[in-house]
Amino acid sequence: MSSRIVNLNVNPCKMCMPLGVVNAFYGVAGCICLLHGSQGCSTYIRRHMATHYNEPVDIASSSLTEEGTVFGGEGNLIRGLDNLIALYHPEVVAVATTCLAETIGEDVRAIVRDYLAGRPDCRVKIITVNSAGYSGTRYEGWFRALRALLEQTDADASAHAGVNVVTGPLSPADTRALKRLLRGTGLDFTLLPDISDNLDGGCGAPYSRLPAGGTPLAAIARMAGARATLEAATFVPEEASPGRLLEEKFGVPLFRLNMPVGLRDTDAFLAALEELGGSIPAEEREERARYLDAMVDAHKHVALGRAAVFGEPDLVYGLTRLCCENGLVPVVAATGADCPALKAVLEEEIRPVAENLMLQRFSVLNFADFDDIEAAVAANGANLLIGSSDGRRAAHRRNIPLVRCAFPVHDHLGGQRIRVLGYAGAMRLLDEFSNALISNLEASFRKTIRDRCFGGREGSAAAGKAAGSNRARSATHPCFSEAAGHSFARIHLPVAPDCNITCNYCVRAFDCPNESRPGVTSRVLTPDEALERFLRVRESMPSLRVAGIAGPGDALANFEATAETLRLIRREDPEVTFCLSTNGLLLPLHAARLAELSVSHVTITINAVDPVVGARIYSQAAYMGMRFRGEAAAAMLLSNQLAGLKMLTDLGVVCKVNIVLIKGVNDTHVEDVVRKVKTLGASIANIMQMIPVRGSAFEHMPMVDNKTHEALRGRCESILPQMRHCRQCRADAVGLLGEDQSIRLREAAPAALSSVPAAPGVESPVKVAVASRSGVVVDQHFGFAEQFYIYESDGLSARLLEARRVAGKNAGCGGCGNRPLPEGPEEVEAGGGKIVRALEAVADCGVVVAMRIGDSPSRQLAQKGISVFSTYDSIDKAVKDAVLRCRGAAAADSRFL
């Protein structure tokens, strides 16, 4: 965004609280969630989670309606619980509120209490969570879910030697790694929550709708009697901390730690486990050593990195610290949540690393949206984005790599397998950071250095290379090499009908197939047709090397068609040489694009390099919406021709200049033209005798005789190579020069519908009324039709005349009411009125075709002499069939299906 808006959240860097609640409950065994609110909340959250985890995500909704919103949603919630329990047979149901339920003041705890009181046999544990979307983000929702779970589970406070481990949002893979580590320590532990299986399940075993993995309710109950709680979450407020609840309620000592991300925080986490009596597995020590080794390997690469880290508070904190310990400067650290504490600690963390590299600017952003983040990325010069896939738009816009390592990842696979935790996670991240930076450097350093050396004249080296390969192509281009003219074929594709200048020797008629001169073609092709012709000719003509666009107008005056044709052909044929001819008026506009389209050869017709001479040849030029005449036109054209020629040759395109030799006009001027274009890089000149065309201004001009023509070429030869084998081809020429195959290869002209001769005996067309909803298939009852498609058909072809509304239908659809249109047959007014109106609507037709029709209307139609057919078929076919049958059988009531 160019300017910033502060009163709106622009591109959110956060998700809502109910998502966090559901996410955490996916880590509880046998649990299924129900969101008390409108249907959209659960559907959107399901979609958001399913695309990240690549797992089915089932979340029920109480599907609150208007009625529920006004009079309370208790009924909906109770029905929802009944249905959900019947469908999934869960052990635990989590009922979480949404914005709507909270705003209308639903007391879910009371509703659930009453629900259970009325169902003494219900063994399902129902946990309620108040989670208005507007009161926090996914991060807060996650902890609120855990706290509600601990609060509402019947605790078993009998003391045991186990340890509780509570985490914030982790990926399933990280959760698995953490479990493996905890098992390895020999400690008896309860991990809450555990989404490792439920959001990253296997394939092959029978699929279970109900998430079977996760922390069991019994284990959660026993957390009250544990020896200690480790809570790996830095920024969760005291009042929301699940560990604090266990401490206050049951006296379980709480140790709050950072998420084990990076070296220091993983060390601290392991130390805490050790302190609690765990033994650290030897592999962890080895992994640590390997991470240290990786840090050394990476340090010089990552020191070139300027990271922007964004996401939820704990993760941003951990990732920022990981960056810092590796010397990768986080120039932006941002969270979308409201977590003011983050700023001070992170600034303290980043400052020394930035100072080492003499960086002044870095920003820690609280409560940020992506508009804020992107602005800071630009201002602080970040070259690496670290976070969720929501950063991808900024990454694309700024051409900065994005390492996806946080929820949600919507555009890549493997969101469920993100690894961040521990030494192994850190190692993997570090490799990803380094490689993203290395790839960027590798892709850009050659150009950067070259540009620096050549003072930014970028492209000159590339153009030099292009020029070489383009010149090599001239050997197989019949117009640029005489030898090639005998053995290699070309095809001219007439896709460019319009012209933007008026030459006095030309008539812009292109429908005479018997003339062979520039500007003449029998039929203009669309790019698709041109592709088809090209492919067909290539099949039958192995010597084909060149595809050119030579009008019949000016290739650049029809630039879209020209470019599209070339693009289509290039997709099919990477080899063929592209060539086009132009008067040059639009060259400065399109030269660069032509080179991009891999046009290697261009012919520009330049008849004069003096506007006074030019004014005698050109009568007008249309340029940029203006019409120029006389010398102004000639001067405009000339300056563009010369500038365009220079641009092309600078880009390495091989240019030929055609000069139409006109006796008494430019015959003494041609040598000047040749001299001038040589200085601009033209490779070859082609001096052609003007062919007087009937109807043109120069109709009666004499031609230069062959001897004079040849002598002139001889003089010019010393200036620039001359093309002497020109055959002045048609705009749709095909084959070797002088052996035009275009007439033979032209498509058989398609027979015009209107000119199809009437078969003897076929009568005049008849009107057919079709009952159709979809408009493409006969799929409607006669009586329920809101409209009839009125066709005219002679049985061979069919023409749609109109879509005729049935009078009186659609009444009441004025948009004033809130209810949908009466759509189904049962809602359409009953009685005979509608049939009468339908009969009226088709009264002028000879045939009616419908998917179905009642007996009575069928009889009434027959009485009026209207034939009736019922069918389910495509509309075209049904119409033609009906007419043919009608005539063949002459039986008014015959039916076909």
Partner: protein
Amino acid sequence: MYAQVLEERKKSIRRAADAETSPIRCGARSVSGAVSQRACVYCGARVVLNPITDAFHIVHGPIGCAAYTWDIRGSLSSGSELYRNSFSTDLREKDVVFGGAEKLAAAVDEVMRVHAPALIFVYCTCIVGVIGDDVEAVCRGAERKYGNRVVAVKAPGFSGGKADGYRLAGEALLQFLLPHKGRKKRGGINILGDYNLAGETWIIKRYLEEVGLPVVSTFTGDASCESLAHAPSARLNIVQCAGSMVHLAQRMEREFGIPWIKASFFGVEDTGTSIRQAADLLGSAETRRRAADLTRRESERTRRLLEPYKARLAGKKAAIFVGGGFKAVSLVRQFRELGMETVLVGTQTGRPDEYEVLGKLVGPDTVILDDANPAELERFLRERGADILTGGVKERPLAYKLGIAFCDHNHERRHALAGYEGALNFAEEVNRSINSPVWRYIRG
């Protein structure tokens, strides 16, 4: 083994053979707790309007509604990229208590100062309906102050279904169009109900223009405020996604006298019919000839290219669960063109007559479902032995877990399914999944 079907849901599930005598229940509210795949009113309005590329779409509500709909659809633009941003008033507890109208008004002021868009949509979500913000007043005030259009789309999620959202979007569009009523007719076509997913509007437009039928404006794929303003000058509306746009077509017929026809650009046959119909109604003899040429040439070419796919797909069993009935019908027919039988077909919002057509199209044992949930899909996919499921993002992981191939027919796809090239892409997509070697190991 198989999940039970809830009593309340039984009327919404039918064998095709039984559907004739006992029509399927549809159009009803979702059953609470049944895990419906449907979305909400706001969703319906947002998906229809959001492709307007240079309009400013402000979601007035808490952050979730904006976060989950931010740039999630593959509608392409040839101009502005503004619509790919998410703008939300991000209402919080304080706003719920004291009201959010002031915040909204300040935001609109700021938007006008910074961007000055010709058109702003303000979407009202669930809680705005409850806390009673007078959004209409804010919008009217802004219009008076700035002279641009600021249109409230009152779409609280609880106030109905997705289809109600379509209707609200149609009304919002009409509000924008009405001041342009007097435009001189210049002929040409409006394309309604195509959202330019993977460039589909462009494909349709190219066909029409190629045969000589100018396209005036498109609703709403790749639309701009400027292009929409010309819509009243068109002579014909063609409606592709009927569910979302018939209402607007009817209103435009009444207000601007533009007749409309339905059209379908899914599948070879429908594409041809739709192009020829448009040419019949608006074109000269030359245009009609070109339409006949183009459709004959393209359908022959496409059918030729489809042959190798048919050889690989014939006899496989397809399952379909999509949003609207119209799309379901065209999918059944497209599968049939590939020699595949449909054994399960369901929709979120199909209508009675669409279900009737579906019943006729499929075999007697095919199961038809309205507003199905994952448990039902799972049960019938397994029971009917489907080889592939066609559906949206939420259905994909379920199919994969059951070891069934999947065809993405959602709004996020990166491949066009409309027109002749779409018909090829469809076959390619189906083949790519159904004949992948992985299933051999999964089912092994």
